[in-house]
């Protein structure tokens, strides 16, 4: 049985349904899978999470979590899933320990009962257990929130942008924890606006403006990238970008770190581009082949 099934879900907002957040999207995640929803702000990630956690009703379409239908079986779903909203949503005036105890009781369990599940995460915040949750650092808050979402050993874990606003080290730690949870057999649906995190998922769905661009493994998505990709650098980057856009053999060009990435038409070569740019008088020119990443794929999908 799939962990999550989303079938042609449409969600609109506003009295006249003038804003469409989700345009009939469909996908499935396998049990025990770490599935990523990758997309920028406003892509519809949170709307989808809220529909799957029974907090919102879709306009049309069906969805189920562990075989339970989100509208009809909402009570059963609420018992079995763990949900960590995008915003820090614990009680800032309660201590770490009090928060955890409270959520354990709300879910009819105790910290001791599922301690093995949260141990790896909880040991990191345990030294601060008497501290008020509001006084924790961003990364600590997320660890506490994850502990609270896990306290009842959910079948499916929904994490809405858990790493947004968290420093690089904490992000890395957080993904390590997710791997550990996956190893314990928990199905995880996680959303993130960070493309580099897509590679850490088993499979991802690329989401943009309420539409799914692609559902695949991170490697599969990159393999689908059919064009040659070049990385180009010169002393003055902005004129460089304008000139690349004028080059006929280029499909698309965009800034990418310290380079510009250039998607080439099949048949166009790096040498041709280099000559074109040298002719325009660029100094310090470096043109090299680049390996496409998820972000390149995302941009390519958006372009089509």
């Amino acid at each position: 049985m799939p962990a999550v099934v989303v079938n042609n879900i449409v969600k609109t907002y506003g009295k006249k349904k003038e804003t469409t957040a989700l345009h009939g999207i469909s996908f499935e995640t396998a049990p025990g899978e770490l599935f990523g929803l990758i997309g920028p702000d406003g892509a519809g990630k949170t709307s989808l999470f809220r529909i799957l956690t029974t907090l919102l009703l879709a306009d049309s379409g069906t969805a189920s979590v562990n075989g339970l239908e989100v509208v009809k079986d909402y009570k059963a779903i609420r018992r079995k899933v763990g949900y960590m909203p995008g915003r820090f949503s614990l009680y800032p005036d309660l201590s770490v320990e009090e928060n955890l105890n409270f959520f354990a009781t709300i879910f009819n369990t105790s910290i001791e009962e599922n301690y093995d599940l949260i141990r790896d995460i909880y040991v990191q915040i345990e030294p601060f257990k008497k501290r008020r949750a509001g006084k924790l650092s961003g990364g600590m808050k997320q660890k506490l929130a994850l502990s609270c979402a896990l306290i009842h050993r959910p079948d499916v874990l929904f994490l809405d942008e858990p790493t947004t606003g968290v420093d690089a080290v904490s992000r890395k730690e957080f993904w390590e924890m997710l791997k550990g949870l996956k190893a314990q057999g928990i199905s995880i649906l996680v959303s993130t606006p960070y493309m580099d995190e897509a590679a850490l998922c088993d499979r991802v769905a690329l989401l943009q403006n309420g539409k799914i661009l692609s559902v695949n493994t991170p490697a599969g998505i990159v393999d689908d990238f059919a064009w040659p990709l070049l990385a180009v650098k010169a002393t003055s980057m902005l004129p460089l970008l304008h000139h690349i856009e004028k080059f006929e053999g280029a499909v698309n060009a965009y800034p990418f770190g310290e380079f510009h990435h250039v998607v080439m038409k099949p048949g166009s070569t790096a040498v041709q581009l280099q000559q074109f740019l040298e002719h325009k008088g660029h100094a310090g020119l470096i043109v090299k082949e680049a390996k496409p990443g998820i972000e390149d794929c995302f941009i390519a999908y958006m372009k089509n």
């Binding site: 907090l55 919102l56 609420r78 949503s89 614990l90 005036d93 009090e98 409270f102 105790s110």
Partner: protein, 378 residues
Amino acid sequence: MRANSPFSILNSQFFAFIKKEFFHIWRDKSTLFILLGMPVAQIIIFGFALTNEVKNAKFAVLDQSKDVATQQLITEMDASRYFDLSKNLTSYKQIEEEFKKGTVKLAVVFPPNFNEDLQHFNKAQVQLVADASDPNVANTLTNYASNIIGDYQKRVTGNRELPYTITTEMRMLYNPQLKGAFNFVPGVMAMVLLLVCTMMTAITIVKEKEMGTMEIMLVSPMRPQLVVFAKAVPYLLLSIINISTILLLSYFVLEMPINGSLVLLVGESILFTLVSLSLGLLISAGAASQQAAMFISLIALFLPTIMLSGFMFPVENMPIPMQVVSKIAPASWYYSIVKSVMIKGIGLHAIWKETLVLAGMMVFFLTLAIKKFKIRLA
């Protein structure tokens, strides 16, 4: 799963939530201070500052008779708690001068031969001149003075049979001293309970929505309605503390008697608290932000309580539409219950109608609140 029966599940969740709620209240010291200090402050302010009783008003005397009777009368007035003799005048002209200076509020004028007239003709005149730039004070002062003079007259003529004398005897039932406290203590109780229960419950529930914790609560096995009820319990307890504070203060500090049954009074107060809590829950179901919850509570409840419950202005004098509005406000029913029980000392048989109305309101608001409570976000 640790819990075995559904009942124990409900219990442990419910109590964990109430415990958490007490943490919130206890750790927000400034709000707690306001919640518990407000009734004390209001009782003291209304009891000692905002009163239309007149005490120790300065008065002047123009005594053209200077005999035993006038001396006795002046001494009696001076000795009463309402008046203080400030000046002896010698002419009519001085009365107006004193009024203009604002040093006295009342002048008492005895004509010549006051005692002789009183003894021989059974008829003597005394003139009271009051500074009516404040009509209420003037009215009150002349009433007080007339009473003192009337009392004196009765004592003097008491042993003699007077032909054809009509004496009006006024009795102020239940509140012979016309103490203002009798009026405002019930009002303050209604106000404080409404404020604590309605506004605070509405605000704390909406706060959970704003903070996003309601989102997690909803995605949990806890029944959403239980979340809301658990929110109300601490405020019920807080209100019971406030009811006790108000009653203790009014009994010991304002010397206001509790003539009726204390159990009945507290019981009715708890009923009113429950009405207020239900209203708070109803408001929280509709309000999207803490500010909205506060404004709705203040405008829809607080103002009618003060203006229309009869606590500040008598309902009987209002135009009919306003009287209707006043009947809709729960506070006006509670106000009349408290007055009946506390001051008139009557029992449940006389206030069953009001009690029934309050109970009905509670059921109505609570049903509506539960119906309106959203089990989802939108």
